[in-house]
């Protein structure tokens, strides 16, 4: 990916890509603009030729149609040129893909500062935090419905990351397939029953790409919307989750408070009933 120079073209037109807040989202957007310009040029040339020929060679009894069965050299040319462009595009894209999805890739994050477990169901997201001890399936775990809080990555004035804040989600489903989709993080992953998938992202406070001046957020600039992107039944469209990005200290404080409450509630329960 590093080989592709970023394009300067990033319109703030209302009907365009939403703003992006994740590090790999930037690379995805760069790929998008490359594809956009390649396809736009192709589109104009091809449709232009089509319309021009239709106009120029409209029926005219004074003329005879050209008799030809084709041209071998042209065929080779218009096979090879697109092939080179497209394969180059594919090869360049594969490193971004591997970085986002392939855990065996060297560029896949090695460290995750935050890990949560999300179990989707008809029609809600159950988000479980390991609590203050950082371990799952202990008494201080706590679960929130349709609310995901994560720490954001602090950046300096130029937008450089000061400290990594990688978030890992262990994603699964208890009934049908759902799909975790957060447009402003450029993240989508199916939640599949019978299988736990790992996904990761990092969220930043400021967008890495200017977006349209449209209301993408709910309360303030750090609440993103998460939607379900895989048909899951009659309430498919209602699986809306709020993803809130907080400063690290606020996040830690919140986790400490919630897990203390969970621990107290667990202690208050009669023995032999862990509440799980």
């Amino acid at each position: 990916m590093q080989d592709i120079p970023p394009t300067e073209f990033a319109p703030t037109w209302k009907w365009w890509l939403p703003p992006n807040y994740s590090s790999y989202g930037e690379e995805i957007d760069t790929l998008y603009y490359w594809i956009f310009w390649i396809t736009m040029v192709t589109f104009v040339l091809v449709e232009g030729a089509l319309v021009w020929f239709c106009f120029k060679y409209r029926r005219d009894p004074a003329r005879k149609a050209i008799y030809t069965h084709g041209n071998h050299r042209l065929e080779v040319l218009w096979t090879v040129i697109p092939a080179v462009i497209l394969v180059a595009l594919g090869v360049l894209s594969s490193s971004t893909w591997a970085k986002i999805k392939n855990q065996a890739d060297p560029n896949y994050p090695t460290e995750f500062q935050t890990t949560v477990r999300i179990v989707a169901q008809q029609f809600a997201w159950n988000v479980t935090y390991p609590g203050a001890d950082g371990r799952f399936d202990t008494d201080d775990d706590f679960t929130k419905k349709n609310a995901l809080n994560v720490p954001y990555e602090p950046t300096d004035a130029e937008g450089n990351t000061l400290r990594e804040e990688n978030v890992r989600i262990m994603l699964s489903s208890m009934d049908v397939i759902h799909s975790f989709f957060c447009p402003v993080l450029r993240l989508k992953q199916d939640a599949v029953p019978g299988y736990v998938g790992n996904v990761w992202f990092d969220a930043r406070k400021r967008p890495t790409s200017p977006g349209p001046d449209r209301q993408y957020f709910t309360d303030d600039d750090e609440v993103y919307e998460v939607a379900c992107a895989e048909l899951c039944g009659l309430g498919h469209w209602q699986m809306r989750m709020q993803l809130k990005a907080l400063p690290r200290d606020v996040f830690d404080e919140w986790v400490a408070r919630e897990s203390a409450e969970a621990k107290a509630a667990a202690a208050a329960r009669p023995a032999g009933n862990s509440g799980k």
Partner: protein, 685 residues
């Protein structure tokens, strides 16, 4: 009328007696006059027929009927997207209330009494009960329940799922595949290769009746649930949503699986028949590389169908077993529906279904476009009076699309949790498929270059196909790019892509085919002017419906959402949704022109005055019009050269029918194209 002057009757081995050609509405009419052998009963001749032309027309009429159903479902889907229940008062309405001096609690009460919900015209109240305003409800008015229960006339979210599921199922299984392979394949293959009928005429009839059984089963699924809940898990029917009996997937889903098995069986029978026919029954002199591209496309499509469809049928059988016989192919352990364990579930793989399903359904996408590409090639050659530019490259490109079509299915599963290394593989193979598609587009444009282009309705639709297929193909590059697909997967971008390929692509190709071969099918002409109106309105409105979907998709608008209300990032698209719906209504209305023109053409269109009204070269134009039983009254014609000898120097006419030997003056082809006449563009080397 922009049609060329009628051809002199000199071409063609036999000109049928005019009155035999004249009877319009059923292909086999010409039969009695053409040659009188044994008489058949009406049932054998027109209903349980084994004549490929009658079967082709049966498919055509059935598919045009289901096209209406699929279109109606599409309009209901669009209506729901634009105007879902629970529309809030508009700003103007609120302002009007404020102007009356209302505020606070009073204002809220008054706002609650505003009713902006719009039930789908006529059907909404028929299906989901009388629509009452809040005032009428407050006054204690009793609403009249509808056929599918009482929902104040508005479509419930679960029925919306049914609407788009059945829209896709109907359009794919009951319209596009059968009209391309069943109607055009049946009608054209034997005529174009010079066969008196299919290799297995009885199997051919059986294939239609099996398909019809599937069609009735699919449509019956609307009537097995008190709320009219047919299959509602998407046409892809991903388990566990579709694989477990639940309110979301009741008896309608079961009937859906059975219907698809019927249709798959019909496809397998049809494709075997076409393959055997094309391999064995070609007329003398009809080498493979003298076949028109329509037949080539049908040939390659049949190979796809024969290898892919059994996989679909077995997938459907496995799903039926899962649903009703306790197997667990697609049901993993620990499955909880509404917190209750699903009995018998365990050990299955959810993603296995996706692999099996897309192993059929991706090739199916090419089953739905290759035949249209073939027909469009023929239409462009005839109406621009030019040989196909790069005939052999066209054949190779079609084969390459078909071959690659079997190794790209994983691009539907980039976000499914499939091994990401496979994602890279499928991305590269998917990108490769853009190449043969591009080659075809370039060759069509090359065919137009230097032609004598007549803008008949058939050619307009063919041009519409080419220009819109370019958009569908280019948006495919976005989808194929795995990293960018993370963002646009399952958004309206893919809805735009599939409709640019299947509606503005395949359906335009189908219309081109109907306008082009109508005179041969029915012995009469459709009205050209109406055809042009039909084209332009369709062209404008379909872009109005489908182009904005790219934009909503780019904004991340997820597909299959019954409502956008409650999402901050979706609310701004409300206006665009309404615009697309208005265009969809216009698109639907434009098809009325077609249906009127089509029916009028069959019963009252001007009769053809020639067996070859378009001055075309391929063999179907050498038959009596419409062709009788056995197609040619005498022996089948002998083929002398390729099908695209248009505007060949040395000829008086600008065409050279395949069944007429090349006159001496033109037999020696001009330099540089010497062998072109006989073996395609080998000469170009």
């Amino acid at each position: 009328m922009s049609t060329p002057a009628p051809a002199p009757a000199a071409h063609g081995p036999v000109a049928a007696p005019p009155d035999a050609a004249a009877h319009g509405h059923a292909a086999a009419h010409g039969h009695a006059a053409a040659h009188g052998h044994h008489e058949m009963s009406f049932l054998r001749k027109y209903v349980f027929s084994t004549d490929h032309k009658v079967i082709g027309l049966q498919y055509l009429f059935s598919c045009l009927f289901t096209f209406l159903i699929g279109g109606l479902l599409a309009l209901m889907v669009r209506w729901q997207i634009a105007w879902p229940a629970g529309a809030p008062p508009t700003e103007a309405q609120v302002q009007a209330l404020r102007d009356q001096g209302l505020e606070g609690e009073e204002l809220r009460k008054a706002e609650a009494r505003i009713d902006n919900d719009r039930p789908f015209p006529i059907l909404g109240e028929f299906l989901w009960g009388e629509h009452l305003t809040p005032d009428e409800v407050a006054a204690g008015k009793e609403s009249r329940p509808g056929r599918f229960g009482d929902n104040n006339g508005m479509m419930p979210a679960e029925w919306y799922n049914v609407a788009f599921t059945m829209h896709a199922s109907v359009m794919i299984f009951l319209v596009i595949i059968p009209i391309l392979t069943g109607a055009f394949g049946n009608f054209l293959i034997p005529l174009q290769i010079g066969a008196k009928d299919m290799a297995f005429p009885f199997l051919n009839g059986l294939s239609y009746w099996t398909w019809l059984g599937g069609m009735l089963t699919l449509l019956a699924s609307f009537f097995v649930d008190p709320q009219g809940l047919s299959a509602g898990a998407g046409w892809t029917s991903y388990p566990p949503l579709a694989g477990v009996v639940s309110p979301s997937a009741g008896p309608g889903q079961t009937l859906w699986c059975i219907g698809v098995i019927f249709i798959g069986t019909s496809s397998i029978m049809g494709s075997m028949n076409y393959l055997t026919t094309i391999v064995n029954l070609r007329a003398p002199g009809m080498t493979l590389f003298r076949m028109p591209l329509t037949t080539w496309a049908a040939f390659i499509t049949s190979i796809l169908q024969l290898f892919a469809t059994p996989v679909l049928s077995s997938a459907m059988a496995m799903m039926l077993f899962d649903r009703h016989m306790g197997t667990s192919f697609f049901r993993p352990g620990g499955l909880l529906f509404n917190d209750v364990p699903v009995p018998g579930a365990g050990g299955g793989q959810v993603i296995l279904w996706q692999h099996i399903f897309w192993f059929y359904s991706h090739p199916a996408v090419y089953i739905m476009i290759l035949p249209a590409m073939g027909m469009v090639s023929d239409v462009i050659a005839v109406w621009s009076r030019k040989p196909i530019f790069g005939y052999r490259p066209m054949v190779y490109a079609t084969s390459a699309i078909a071959g690659l079509g079997f190794v790209v299915w994983g691009h539907h599963m980039f976000q499914s949790g499939m091994n990401p290394v496979l994602g890279t593989t499928f991305m590269i193979s998917t990108i490769m498929i853009a190449l043969p598609s591009a080659v075809k587009v370039f060759n069509w444009i090359g065919t137009l270059w230097g032609g004598q282009i007549t803008f008949s309705p058939a050619l307009l639709f063919a041009l519409g196909f080419v220009s819109m297929f370019v958009i569908g193909g280019l948006s495919g590059i976005y989808m194929a790019n795995a990293p960018f697909d993370i963002f646009i997967h399952d958004t309206y971008f893919i809805v735009a892509h599939i409709h640019y390929v299947l509606f503005t692509g395949s359906v335009m190709g189908i219309f081109a085919g109907i306008y082009h071969w109508f005179p041969k099918m029915f012995g009469r002409h459709m009205n050209d002017l109406w055809g042009k109106w039909h084209f332009w309105l369709t062209f404008i409105f379909m872009n109005g419906v489908f182009f904005p979907m790219h934009i909503t998709g780019l904004g991340g608008y997820p597909r299959r959402y019954a409502s956008f209300r409650g999402y901050n990032f979706l609310e701004p698209y409300a206006g665009m949704n309404e615009f697309m719906t208005w265009c969809a209504l216009g698109l639907g209305a434009a098809q009325i022109i077609f249906f009127v023109n089509f029916l009028r053409g069959i019963f009252a269109g001007p009769r053809v005055t020639s067996d070859n009204p378009w001055h075309a070269n391929s063999l179907e134009w050498s038959t009596p019009t419409p062709p009788g039983h056995n197609n040619w009254p005498g022996p089948v014609p002998t083929v002398h050269h390729g099908p695209y000898e248009y505007s060949r120097p040395g000829l008086q006419e600008d065409y050279a029918p395949q069944w007429v030997p090349m006159p001496k003056a033109a037999a020696r082809a001009p330099a540089g194209t010497a062998e072109g006449a006989h073996e395609g563009p080998a000469a170009a080397r």
